[in-house]
Every structure is written in structure tokens, then in C-alpha cells.
Amino acid sequence: MNKRTFTFTVLVMLFSSVLLAQDSQNNYDPLGLAENLEFELNFSSGYSSNLLGDVTRTDDRNYTSSVSIWYNPYPALEIGIEDEYTYYENTFRLSSNLSKFSFGFVPTRETSPWTIYLSGGLNLLRYQRSTMSFDNDSYDMLAAIGWQVADQLSFRTGYGFNANTYIRSEVSDLLKYSTFMGGNWSFLGSNTIDLELGYSITAFSFVPDTIVIIDTLYRDLTVDDYFTDGYLLAFYVSPRFSRSIGPKTGISLEFNYQSFSNEDHSVIIISEFEHISPFAGVSEGKSIELDLKTYQFSNMIVTTGAGYWYKKYLRLLDGPFERTRVDLAERRVDELSRWYLSLELPVAIGHSDLLKSFWKIDYTNNISNFDQFKYYKWAFSTGITYRF
């Protein structure tokens, strides 16, 4: 943890302590801070049998702690600040600190047929000294409008913006604009159909396949010199069917189809950031997920589900790059299956406090045309959250 992060964490904790002391000792709260502030402390740990999702089968444990504060100066506005530190036991280089600043604005009342939602956030992610080239800042914004046409029929539309900046390199910076629209209709008792469509434009850096060879030998060139800027266009359609099975249990079935329209001539360099390039995980394809959620067990939320994803990634190229044929870059195609089970045990304490623990188990099997990405893995996580 660097000096600035440590200072920030201490300040957050001091700020929290002062505010709490004012309320608990004097019971005097002229600004309404106590009732309009919410704190959350979280500690969790996890284990993955294949942390990086590749043939290296790197297994590791992690421990995460976080403190969050939300403040509502008005019923329509929420301001949030959060600091989260994650420690990886064996892969220490991936340990990091994440600071989040966010806001939410809902000017419309809950009884309004039209609803407006605005939100935004800034995330500052900082790794250890040996991996500080991954340090990045990300910004996001969402503006959405909903319309309750009838009791069981509603529509929504929105616009989103995401930006990701690697503060020590520009190669993998990302800028994405997206828009979506959807409709939701409940019918014949407890059946619900939800259809959503979306379109996005992402500015990104890539190596065009018109460059045949990256050649950094005997020349004053680096891999970065071969990059060019462009836009990735994508659309998706996602129908979802959900229904209840009795009053406390629900199931949902979701399809998703996403396609790029202009990716044919772009090649992504995945080793530039040791596979942390934000574009290494960008894919098109289709998926189907079946989920079940139940409150049938006393004071417990049980969620389980399974899914299948067919994913075609952008054309990928791995180093070293002394003399590398760009035109030989292939598209990674994966078939991924996943199953998970999650248990949550929330316990309300008094009028507004909450103590929540969770356990989660997850199994993933991935088949790929790239040998390095053929893998399976188990992941377990557990944690406890106290909100007050």
C-alpha cells in the first residue's frame, strides 16, 4: 500500500469516527448526518484453483477489506466513498487498493410513472510497485429514463459512458459510449418477459492487420509504434423470461447475443499488459443462463444457476515481438460453462443495522481453440458485511 493510499484510508476512518462520536456521545445531530449517513464494513476471503484462467493453473487465496460511506443530503441524491484493499497470498503482485467515489441522483418520486436515474463514479485502482504499470483510473456515467405504461408494462432507455485510463501507458486506454432500450411485461399470473437491446461504440487501440510484421529488431521502434486508434461497434439483444414458483422462489432464463460489426482488421496485443489489457476479454457471441433464487429457507437467500457462453474474442497476438507476423493472429473462440451456488444470511439488527454473511462456490470449465486457455477451475468465497 503506498503512502497516498494509506493516508486516504486513515482519513476515511477518522472522518467516520468523528461523525459517529458526535452522534453517540452528544446525541446532537443538527445536520441530520447520523440518519442520512450509512457506513459499511466488509471483510471477505476467496480461493481460486486457477486464478488467471489459463493452463498455468495458478491457485491462490485472497483477502479483501473495505469501508464504505454513503451520504444523502437530499432524498434524491446519494454520495458515496469507498476504499477497498485486496491482498493475494501467493500472487502478491496482484494485490491492490481500489478507491471509489460515486453519486446517484433520482429526482423522481417512487410513485411517479416516469422515473429518472443518473449515476456516476470514479475508480482509482493501484497495484503494487512491481505491477504499477497496471494502475488505472476509470470513470463511468449512466443516465436512464423509465416509463410505467400500465401496472404490468414498462419501458426504459438510457445512455452510458465508460472511460478507462492506464496512467502509465496509453496503449490500452478505453472509451466507450453505449445506449440501450428495453421493455418489461408481466402476464398470466407470475410470468415476466423482459427484452433489452443495446448498441455501443468503443474507442480502442489496435494493430491493423495491414501491417504484416512487427519488427523491433535493429530499428528504433517499439511495439507501441505499430498501434493505431479506431472504433469498435457492437450491438446486443437479450430476451429474458422469469417467473415465480410459489411466493418465495423465482427462476429466470436469459439469452444474450452480441455481435461486433467492424472488428475484422484489428489485432489486440495481449502480452503488452500480461493479459490485463482491457480488450483481452472483449468478445462477441451468445449465452444462455438459468438462475434460481429462493427465500424458502428461514432468513436465508439461496441463489444458484448455470450458464453456457460461446465467445469469440478479438484477434489476439502474443509476444515476444522482435519479428512477429501480425497477419497470423487468430481469433480466440471459447465455450465456457459455469455453475454456481450462493448463500446469503442477512440479520437485521435494530431498526437500521445489518449484519450479512455469504458463502459462494463456483465451477467453470472452458474449452478454447487456444491451448493456453483450456482450463477448469473452482472458486470459493466467503465474507461478512456490517452496515450501520
Binding site: 441530520g32 440518519e35 449517513l37 450509512e38 486457477n50 486464478l51 488467471l52 485472497n62 479483501t64 454513503w70 443530503p73 432524498p75 441524491l77 485486496t86 493475494y88 496482484l94 418520486r109 417512487e110 411517479s112 416516469w114 422515473t115 436515474y117 485502482l125 497495484y127 463511468d140 423509465g146 401496472d151 404490468q152 426504459r156 438510457g158 478507462n164 478505453l174 418489461n184 408481466s186 399470473g189 407470475s190 443495446g198 455501443s200 468503443t202 446486443y236 437479450s238 415465480s244 414458483i245 411466493p247 422462489t249 423465482g250 429466470s252 432464463l253 439469452f255 452480441q258 482491457p278 483481452a280 476479454g281 457471441g285 449465452s287 432468513n299 446469503e344 459462494k360 467453470t364 472458486a379
Partner: protein
């Protein structure tokens, strides 16, 4: 593989539609719990109240937010004497407002680029948990 996938998917839909007794149960409940809506896609009635905000609905209690919608669009604070009530804190009122926008806040376009949105993904974008910028 794909054809088999679609056949399985269609079969599941067919079974879900015709689970015996499900229609009747919910139609009986509609009279005292309002009409069924499910904007967050978990298959469970949204209208049930969650008075302590623990994430578990109070299934016996109707959500006061599900009262009749008023006007074309309503801004400002709650009306005195309404189900929302003026004595509720800004925090509680905000949570209820945000709940009314639950369908807007969880878009499903992340299939291809959840890693990109996070800006820090290392492994596959479909993952069970994320910690410190890494989904595992």
C-alpha cells in the same frame, strides 16, 4: 452443440410455462398483494415490502411503494401523510426511489466487455467473484 443448446433452452421454457398450479397460486394472491411485477428478473414478486432493508422481502406485507402511481411525473419530497411519510430519513427515501429505478440500473450489455468495463480484468469475463480488480 449450438443446436442442442437451443433445444434444451426451448424445453426449459416449455417446462417453466407449465409448472402445475403456478398460475392459480399467483392469481389468488393478486387480489391482496397487487399485480405481479418483476423488473429485476429474479422471478420473485417485486411488490413485497422490505421494511428493514435486509434483502429479504416481507412477503406478508405489501410494499408501500406499490401504491397507485400519481400524475405524469412526480418530483420533490414525499407528501405529508403519504405512505412514504415525511419522517423517513433522506437515506430511506433515496433507497425507495432507487428501487423504483431497478430496471434501469442493471443493463445486460456486458456479455462482451465486462472486463473492459472493469478496466482490470485478467481472466475470463464470466466469473464468480472479483477482488482487487481481478475476477476469479
Amino acid at each position: 452443440m449450438n443446436r442442442r443448446l437451443y433445444v434444451i433452452g426451448l424445453a426449459v421454457i416449455f417446462i417453466l410455462f407449465w409448472i402445475p398450479g403456478a398460475f392459480a397460486d399467483n392469481q389468488e394472491n393478486q387480489s391482496d398483494q397487487g399485480k405481479f411485477t418483476d423488473l429485476n428478473g429474479d422471478g420473485i414478486r417485486d411488490n413485497a415490502a422490505d421494511t428493514d432493508f435486509d434483502g429479504i422481502p416481507d412477503f406478508e406485507t405489501e410494499n408501500p411503494n406499490s401504491e397507485e402511481l400519481t400524475g405524469l411525473i412526480s418530483f420533490g419530497d414525499a407528501d405529508p401523510g403519504s405512505a412514504v411519510g415525511i419522517e423517513e430519513s433522506n437515506r430511506v427515501q433515496y433507497k425507495k426511489r432507487k428501487f423504483s429505478c431497478r430496471a434501469h440500473t442493471s443493463t445486460r450489455g456486458e456479455f462482451g466487455n465486462s472486463d473492459a468495463d472493469a478496466g482490470k480484468g485478467v481472466s475470463g469475463s464470466v466469473s464468480g467473484a472479483c477482488a482487487g480488480g481481478l475476477c476469479f
